[in-house]
């Protein structure tokens, strides 16, 4: 599932997530699927109850990771791209769903 920057998303029904030192774990009991959330940034991206868009969450996570440090624009751009890839990966694994899809399910 491709997520556009303006899409709102949330954790898909049936998934439970848990924070770990390396990022987190997501588990779906009905299918027994376990997904590793490979970094704390991925965990941060999942702190969305469906009210924020992809673009908003990516900006929020990048800003929190940067803090008050001065970071080159190119680095920030690569970070945003990386986060979009991570979000798409979670969507493809079914861990997150577009909010309109969740409403339909």
């Amino acid at each position: 599932m491709e997520l556009a920057p303006e899409d709102r998303y949330q954790i898909a029904p049936g998934w439970r997530i848990r924070r770990e030192a390396f990022g987190g774990l997501a588990y779906h009991h009905r299918t027994g699927r376990l997904v590793v959330l490979s970094s704390p940034l991925v965990w941060a991206l999942l702190q969305n109850d469906g009210t924020a868009t992809v673009a908003e969450m990516v900006e929020k996570v990048v800003a929190e990771a940067r803090g008050t440090r001065a970071v080159a624009a190119e680095t920030l751009a690569r970070a945003r791209e990386r986060l979009l890839v991570l979000l798409s990966d979670l969507a493809n694994k079914g861990v997150i769903t577009r909010c309109e899809d969740a409403a339909r399910d």
Binding site: R16, R18, R19, A21, F22, L25, Y27, H29, R30, V36
Partner: protein, 346 residues
């Protein structure tokens, strides 16, 4: 799941095996918990509910319930309901002998439960030789009753031995006929399995056959018990090796799971229940505290298999099952005696 994530230590087990009673109406030849009569000092209802509360607070993803036979415990379905109402999904193993219409109906009304019915043979003779007279009929009757209820998932669970290895296709068909999935579990030399090990465990060629069968049936699950077979995919050491088996590729004992016995003792896994591996008792310390502080768990998380260092398969099989290593080779840090690689290289 890659071993590197487990090496860092998880905040809680992914799953906890909880044996709710030692009491069982069967005497299976390979029973890992050596079940039979109920033993003194089993956790009462209040203690069981306190345990469930602790597991829920820890963030355990699901409870894997066994025994003994869970249905022998009068409050079993009450506890199952209590756990799921606290947001803890469950799965449990049953021999099915005590499943009746009422119990099946009640199970169907409890959400977030997977039911595993144990069957170790596709015919009465093969199964009952291992599990006891009447157990084949009891399991099939349970499958019939449960398949008519809206249970989340129904599994047929088979411990693979040399007695039933040639029956996997038929067992698969029995599962499918009842709308169930087949789950194949590796035999361990634990509990009564130690005495029956020599007669029942598979040899190298037989393990290769299991691997080929599993890769041809990707909808069959193994409960993370057959990760040694991933060595065949990792090394390409077997011609026609068809890929990875789903699930963990390393032993989860003390890292991703642990076992709580009916009397509250805690062990790294359900197959290592000797007193030398006790991490404590939940009557003295909650699991949430034990998980972080127990030197037994810390030891398991640090364990490396010296003999396997440098092997290209090690990252994919973790050196195999610690219980098999301990009971057959004498050390939890020994290479799994059933490593499939020497065969594949021959």
């Amino acid at each position: 799941m890659e071993a590197k994530y487990l090496a860092q230590g998880l905040v809680a087990p992914i799953t906890v095996t909880w044996e709710v009673t030692y009491a069982c109406n069967l005497r299976c030849a390979h029973c890992l918990s050596d079940s039979g009569p109920k033993r003194a000092g089993e956790l009462d209802g209040d203690e069981a509910r306190a345990l469930i509360d602790d597991l829920a607070a820890m963030g355990v993803f699901y409870i894997n319930i066994g025994g003994g036979e869970p249905f022998v415990r009068p409050d079993f379905l009450d506890l199952l309901e209590y756990a799921t109402q606290r947001g803890l999904p469950c799965q449990f193993s049953t021999n099915g002998m005590l499943v009746d219409e009422e119990r099946a109906r009640r199970l169907g009304s409890i959400g977030d439960v997977r039911v595993q019915v144990s069957l170790d043979g596709a015919d009465r003779e093969t199964n009952d030789l291992i599990r006891g007279r009447g157990s084949y009929d009891g399991a099939l009757r349970a499958l019939d009753l449960l398949s008519r209820q809206p249970i989340d998932e129904l599994w047929l669970n088979t411990v693979v031995t040399r007695k039933n290895l040639d029956q996997l296709d038929r067992l698969y068909a029995i599962a499918r006929e009842h709308g169930a999935r087949l789950r194949l579990a590796r035999l361990r030399p634990s509990g009564r399995g130690r005495a029956s090990w020599e007669a029942l465990h598979l040899g190298p060629e037989e393990h290769r056959a299991v691997y080929q069968w599993l890769t041809a049936h990707p909808d069959v699950t193994t409960g993370d018990s057959y990760f040694i077979l991933n060595a065949l995919a990792a090394t390409g050491a077997m011609s026609g090796a068809a890929g990875w088996l789903h699930g963990f590729n390393v032993c989860g004992a003390g890292r991703a799971t642990c076992c709580i016995t009916p009397t509250g003792e805690v062990y790294p896994c359900a197959f290592l229940l000797g007193t030398e591996w006790s991490a404590g008792n939940i009557r003295k310390m909650p699991l949430s505290q034990m998980w972080e502080t127990s030197p037994v768990f810390a030891g398991f998380r640090r364990t490396q298999i010296g003999e396997c260092q440098g092997c290209p398969a090690y990252a994919h099989c973790g050196g195999g099952c610690r219980a098999v290593s301990y009971y057959v080779a004498g050390s939890i840090a020994a290479k799994d005696p059933e490593c499939v690689l020497p065969l594949a290289r021959a």
